[in-house]
Symmetry: C2
Subunit: 337 residues, 2 copies
DNA sequence: TTGTATGCGTTATCAA
DNA sequence: TTGATAACGCATACAA
């Protein structure tokens, strides 16, 4: 192996390894001149302190892991971008893990991360329907963890969420004001906390406006594009809703496709509103009314929260929950005439 | 520190650390019974071999770095997803770095990755316009590197690309066949190899069909949304093209917005075709004719290529270039009447 | 301000 | 089949 290391650099300069080491650590006492000398020679020889040796020695990795259910989703891409930015500014690196909404993968990822590879975890969860008590099994050794968007309510850890209840309430109210009284609510997994919160806003808005609630109008969809196509088409033809509120953007897309196929006119026959971070919602046919979550900001806040925890050694009374505000943007998919 | 390590586990079982270590390595000779015993106890105590110690010892990290210009882009999200999948299957982890199209960041990332943190790099480049000779400065120590999509032609390293020249040729020909003879070509950076290749297809198609080439119709755009809006509106009004071919999807979106503002009807007044991996292109108004790259597959191939290199110790004659095929999907944005 | 010596947690070599 | 020991590359306590 002809690769450079601290010892060779030390020999080349006729110095000891500790002096070399000090040149790369900001706090240590070292003569400015020797430091400059060392850094120059290091550059020449392309030397960098070995990351794994440093981390083994210092017992931390300057790395955080990000676990998301999916990547082909504007929301998560933007959130990751936000996390990446803040991490970079703090000198941290990020590892990405995609669960594909598979609970088992989530458990495996988390388990394996507890081997020193990461100093902390930022996660949007996948397994609400399953036992998430596994997170409590690490005892005091559990890595600092921050949830964003999709959370486990019974796990006590900081989280960044949006005002979903309120947004759902307003979205439903908007549909009612536009004249809808048979509003279908499309959800991927009713038992997900995010699904439940969003559904409650829907229910309460119906109640407030004395719109009768029909349980059949809660349509439970899947993660499969093909299955959803069937489910939604059947719902549209059998239930004849005049409004659709979808809890995630891909269900809105599926609704659009279904309407194209079934010759249902949006917004004339059916009004559609959706949670979505799609930047080109105005370009859809028709332009889609959205509840837009501040995805990038959510990622940034989650990262900041994690760094606060990682930095703090005493202050444990940091705010445990950050709630950001989504914005409803009315477009043609819910307009009249 | 109450955390578990190999020594404590050894003590707990009255065994030596070497035996413990062997239980976790598949190749070593070890009594099946003791191995089972060790693994059971390890699970009980939540022990996992420390990643950094292992890596320091073995001089490899089982980690690859992925560097992309941006994340809020369907193409790169899908590509990363593909990379992630293959990496996972091979027991590798992935680090994500976003350059925001900043050459300096790219250089910094690459430099810092040469400290053992990653075993290899998969990158779509950002700095074609700059000096990319920095990649040759590492000598024999340069990490295995695979390019995808946006490449440096003068750097000798494996790459995964698509048949861009051909796609551009066909796209331009399609517009000509639809009756266009003033076809604008919108590009982000003319000097990027990907921009050049794609442009050549455009030029050759014009030539083949004896459509006069007007240099002004090559419109050089930027990375700023606002700037592009101005540039494109001016191009549409001054140059009066009857067709637009955009080299990246966000320029197609910008064109749509501009046309909405200027009351230009697509496809009647202006036909639009674009490179794009947008899955909801059919939902746009009007649905967008695209040249769709197999983004996920590109990511997968890039990862496979890298793993071939990482695995190979002798066979250096592996194919240095993988070319995948894009597909043109005709939709309403280029249809007549 | 610099050098010496030790240990971080693991794996490989060698001996038992 | 198992154990003792050295080494991976670095950072710190302590000595000089």
């Amino acid at each position: 192996m002809d690769s450079i290391n601290i010892k060779k650099l030390a020999e080349a300069l006729n110095l000891s390894t500790s002096t070399i080491s000090r040149a790369f650590r900001d706090n240590s006492d070292i003569n400015a001149a020797t430091k400059a000398l060392i850094l120059a020679k290091a550059k020449e020889l392309n030397y960098q302190p070995n990351h794994y040796a440093s981390n083994l020695r210092e017992q931390k990795s300057k790395t955080i892991a990000v676990i998301v259910p999916e990547l082909a989703n504007n929301y998560f891409s933007q959130a990751i971008h936000g996390i990446e930015r803040v991490a970079r500014e703090n000198g941290y690196h990020i590892l990405i893990y995609v669960t594909d909404d598979d609970y088992q993968k989530e458990v495996t990822f988390i388990r394996h991360l507890h081997n020193g590879r990461a100093d902390g975890i930022i996660m949007s969860v996948s397994g609400e329907a399953n036992d998430h008590n596994y997170l409590n099994k690490f005892g005091a050794k559990r890595l600092p963890l921050v949830f964003f968007d999709r959370i486990y309510e019974d796990i006590d850890t900081p989280r960044v969420i949006t005002n979903d209840y309120n947004s759902s309430f307003l979205a439903t109210e908007h549909l009612i004001e536009q004249g809808c009284n048979r509003i279908a609510y499309l959800v991927v997994n009713k038992s997900l906390s995010i699904g439940k919160t969003r559904m409650q806003g829907y229910l309460d808005a119906l109640a407030k406006h004395h719109v009768p609630f029909d349980e059949n109008l809660i349509v439970d969809c899947s993660n499969s594009y093909e299955e959803n196509s069937v489910i939604i088409k059947e719902a549209l033809t059998k239930l004849k809703p005049d409004g659709v509120f979808t809890s995630v953007e891909r269900l809105a897309f599926a609704t659009y496709y279904a309407c194209y196929d079934l010759n249902i006119n949006i917004p004339k026959d059916l009004k559609v509103i959706s949670f979505s971070s799609l930047e080109i919602a105005p370009l859809l046919n028709p332009s889609l009314t959205t509840i837009t979550q501040p995805a990038t900001e959510i990622g940034e806040e989650a990262a900041k929260l994690l760094f606060t925890i990682l930095g703090d050694h005493a202050d444990k009374n940091l705010s445990n929950e950050v709630v950001l505000t989504s914005k409803m943007i009315k477009r043609n998919s819910t307009m009249n005439g």
